[in-house]
C-alpha cells in the first residue's frame, strides 16, 4: 500500500515536470533537451533554503523563481537558435548545471549531496505522512494541469501553436515569436522548478547524480509517449511510465542483477523513444486537428 502511495506521488511529480516540458516541446515546438536542469535548480534552491531554516512556502516560491530565472537567462542566447541548435544548447546547459552542483562544494556539498531536507510545513500543516504528501503533490499537479490547460486553450496557446507550425506566418501576423517562445520556456522551467521542489522534499535527499540526462530522457519519453501537444498526454505518460519503471521492483530479481537492470531499463527507454518516433510519433493521445504524418 505504501509502495502504491509512493508511486502515486512520483507519478504526480513527474506529471508536473512533464506538463512543463509539454508546453515547450508540444505546444511551442522548442526542443528542450535540458529540462532536468530546471528541476535540479528548483530542488537545490528549496533544499538549501529550508536547510537554513527558511519556511517551506517561501522556499517553494524561491525554487520556482530560481528555475524561471534560469530559464530566462539561458533563453536569451539559446532561443535565438533554430530547432536542433536549441536542443544542443539546452543539453549543454543541463551538463553545466550538474557540473556546478558537483564542483561548488562550498554551497552544495558536491557529489555528497544534501541529506535531511525537511518535510514541508505549510503554515501549521505538517506534511510528514505519505497520504498527506500525496494530497500535496496531487493538489500541485491539479493546479498545474488547470494553469496549463487554461493557458493552452486561451488565445495565448493558439499563438504558441502558430509559432510552432509556422514561425514566419506568426511573425507576419504581428506576433513576436521570440517573446512567445521565451514566455513558454520560462513557464515550462517554472513548472520544472515546482516539480523539483516537491521531489527534494519528498525524497529528502538530493545529489548531482539525480539530475542527469537520464531524467531528461524519462520526462521526454513521458511527454512523447502520452502525446505531445495534448493536455492529458503528459499525465497519462507519467502514470504509465512511472508504474512500468517501478513495477520492475516487484519482480524480486536477484540483487546481483541490479548492475545490469539499470542500464537495461534505460536501453528500453531509449529504444521506446526510437520506436515511437518511427511508428507512432503522436503518442498515445493524438493532438486534435493535426495530421497523422506531418511533413517536414
Amino acid at each position: 500500500m505504501d509502495l502504491l502511495l509512493h508511486l502515486a506521488v512520483v507519478a504526480a511529480i513527474y506529471s508536473i515536470f512533464a506538463l512543463g516540458l509539454n508546453i515547450e516541446v508540444g505546444y511551442t515546438g522548442l526542443f528542450n533537451f535540458g529540462h532536468v536542469a530546471f528541476f535540479a535548480i528548483g530542488a537545490y534552491a528549496s533544499a538549501l533554503l529550508t536547510l537554513q531554516g527558511v519556511p517551506f512556502s517561501l522556499a517553494l516560491i524561491a525554487g520556482i523563481a530560481c528555475a524561471g530565472l534560469g530559464g530566462l537567462l539561458i533563453g536569451i542566447p539559446a532561443l535565438k537558435l533554430q530547432g536542433d541548435y536549441f536542443g544542443i544548447a539546452t543539453l549543454g546547459f543541463a551538463e553545466i548545471v550538474r557540473m556546478i552542483l558537483q564542483n561548488q562544494v562550498a554551497w552544495t556539498k558536491g557529489p555528497m549531496g544534501l541529506p535531511g531536507i525537511p518535510r514541508p510545513e505549510i503554515f501549521s500543516w505538517h506534511v510528514d505522512t505519505l497520504p498527506a504528501y500525496l494530497f500535496l503533490s496531487l493538489g500541485a499537479a491539479t493546479l498545474t494541469f488547470l494553469v496549463i490547460g487554461f493557458l493552452t486553450l486561451s488565445p495565448f496557446g493558439r499563438v504558441l501553436k502558430a509559432v510552432r507550425d509556422d514561425e514566419t506566418a506568426a511573425a507576419v501576423l504581428g506576433k513576436n515569436p521570440f517573446a512567445y517562445k521565451m514566455v513558454s520556456f520560462v513557464i515550462g522551467s517554472c513548472f520544472a522548478g515546482l516539480a523539483g521542489v516537491l521531489w527534494a522534499h519528498f525524497i529528502t535527499f538530493v545529489s548531482p547524480g539525480d539530475f542527469t540526462l537520464t531524467e531528461t530522457i524519462l520526462v521526454l519519453l513521458v511527454v512523447v509517449l502520452g502525446g505531445k501537444g495534448t493536455l492529458w498526454g503528459p499525465v497519462v505518460g507519467a502514470v504509465v511510465l512511472i508504474f512500468f519503471q517501478e513495477s520492475i521492483r516487484f519482480l524480486r530479481l536477484p540483487p546481483e542483477w541490479s548492475g545490469i537492470l539499470g542500464p537495461l531499463q534505460q536501453m528500453i527507454f531509449g529504444l521506446l523513444l526510437v520506436v515511437l518516433m518511427i511508428f507512432r510519433p503522436e503518442g498515445l493521445i493524438r493532438e486534435k486537428g493535426r495530421e497523422t504524418v506531418d511533413r517536414a
Partner: protein, 291 residues
Amino acid sequence: MDSLPYYLQTVLNGILAGCIYALFAMGLTLIYGVLNFVNFAHGELIMWGAYFLYLAMAEPFALPLYAAVPLALGMTALLGAAMDFAVFRPLRRANRLTLLIAAIGISFFLRNAAQLFWGAQVRTYGFEIQQGYRWMGLSLTPQQLAIIVISLICIVGVYLLFFKSRIGKSMRALADNLDLARISGIYTQKVILSAWIISSLLAGTGGILMAMDTNLNPEMGVVNLIKAFAATLIGGVGNLWGALIGGLIIGLAENIAVLYISPGYKDAVAFVIMVIILLARPYVVAGERSD
C-alpha cells in the same frame, strides 16, 4: 610552474585536444551538411569507436593493435550505417522534432548498452606509459605524436574526398538540394551511406585517439558531442574547414582556461564559448537554414 615552457606545453596540449575535436566536429558537420540535422548520436559513435578497440584488444580476442584498429573502425562504420538504415532512413521525410527525438533515443540506447557490457567505470587500453620526446622543455609522447599525424592524415583525406572525388561532389550537391541532386541522376542512397561511413570513421578515429591519450568511459559521448557542436558553431555549421578551426580553438581555450579555473569546469569551457558566439554572432546559425 609559471614559466614559458609550461605555458607552451599547455598550448601544445590544447592543439592535441583540438585535433581530436576537429575530427569529431568534421564528422558532425558532414552529416549536417548532407542530411540537414544534428546527429545527437554522434557522441555515441565516438564512444563506441573507442570501446570497439577495447573489445578487440581485450580477452578473448587479444588482437594486436594493427589488426584491432581497422576492425574497430570497421565496426564503428557499420554501427553508423546501421543507425541510418534502422532509424534515420524511415524518418527521412519526417519532421524535425521526430528526427531529433529519435536521434537522442538512439544515443541514450547506445550509451546504456556500453554501460551494460562494460560498466560505468573508467577504463584504459593498458598501454605502457612511454617516455616522451623532450625538446626545449616540452614533452610529447609517441602517442601524442600519433594523434597529430593521424589527425592530419584524416583531414587531408577528407579534403581529397570531399573536393577532389566524384562522391564528394555528389555529397556537396546533395547538401545543396536533395531533390535537385536526385533528379540529376545522383544515387542518393549511396551518397548518404558514404556520408555516414565517413562520419563514423572520423568519430571512431577521434574516439580511439582520445581514449589512447586519456581513458574510456560511457559518458565520453555526450561531453564530446557538445564540444564538437561548439566547434562547428565557431566555424559556421556545415563548413568543414570551419569545423577544423573551431576544434582547435575549443581545444586551446579549454587547456588555457584550466590554468586559471578549477579543472572541474574544463568541460564547461566549450559551452561558454558557444553561448558567447550565440550572443555575438547569432547570424552564423540563423543563416543557411531551409526551415
